[in-house]
Symmetry: C2
Amino acid sequence: MRKSKQRDAILQVLQGTDSHPTAEWIFSRVRREIPNISLGTVYRNLNQLADGHLIQRIFDDGHLRFDANLHRHDHFRCIHCQRILDLEVELVGLDEAISDDDRFNATGYSLEVTGVCNECQHETEEI
Amino acid sequence: MRKSKQRDAILQVLQGTDSHPTAEWIFSRVRREIPNISLGTVYRNLNQLADGHLIQRIFDDGHLRFDANLHRHDHFRCIHCQRILDLEVELVGLDEAISDDDRFNATGYSLEVTGVCNECQHETEEI
DNA sequence: TGATTAATAGGAATCATTACTACTTAAACT
DNA sequence: AGTTTAAGTAGTAATGATTCCTATTAATCA
C-alpha cells in the first residue's frame, strides 16, 4: 500500500472523532482539506483501511459506518437519532458457549444494544 | 390490516423456513403460488409484518433478512456463505450492565457471532 | 531521473429498496 | 346482495448508498 495524502487525511479524520461516521460524513470533513477529493476515493480508502485492519467497519441497522477504535468493544444505537455510543460490556460465558457449539468455528462477535439516548429522551419529554 | 392472499402466502413461506431469507428469496418462493406477485408487494408486506411484530427484521452485514421466529434469540453468520444459524445464548449480566449505563435507556439488544460454518470449513479443507 | 504501477477524480453503473399510480378487492354500510 | 371506500396490488420509475470504469497523476524504486 503506497502512501497518499488522501488516505492519510481520511484516517486522520476518522481517528479524530468518536462519532462512528458514515463515508459521506468523512467525505465532507476531508473536503475541507482536499476540496476536490472524490467520494469514490473515500470509499476505496475506507475499504482498504478496513481490509488492512487499520479501522473497523460497523453495520448499524443496514448502514455502513466506520470506527478507528480497534480494540474489541460494542455499541449502543439510538433508534431515534442513530447516534452510536461505545460500550464496554463483559459478555460472561459467551466464549465458552460459542466454542461449545459444533455447528461452526466462531472468530468474532458483536453486540448492538438499541434504545433511546438521553438527548432524544429529553426531546420527547419536552413535547 | 386487511387480509390479502399475497401477505398470507409471504408469511407462510417465511414461517416454513429457518433459513432467514432475503426479500428476493421469499419473492421467488411465493411466485410459485402467485406467479404475478411483484417484488414491491413482497417488500411492502414484509415491512408491514415487521412493523406489526409478526416477523423480525435481521441486518446481517448490511443485508436485510427476515425471520418468523419471534422469541428473543441471536444469530451466527458464516463469513463465507452468509448462512445464518440461530443461537440460544444467555448473556449473563448484560441486562444489569446496560441498565447501569446512564447515557441511554436500552430497549433491546442483538448479538451476532461470525465465523466459518462446518460446510464451508470442509470445503476449504478439500482444496 | 525515468519506468512502473498504485492511486486519484469524475462520472457511469449497480443493486437493494422504496415510491408512484392506475387498477383491484376486502370489508363496512346500506 | 349491491354500493361505497379505502387498503392492497402489479408494474414500473425513482432513490440512494456503494462500487466500477477510465484517463490522468504521482509514489516508489532500479
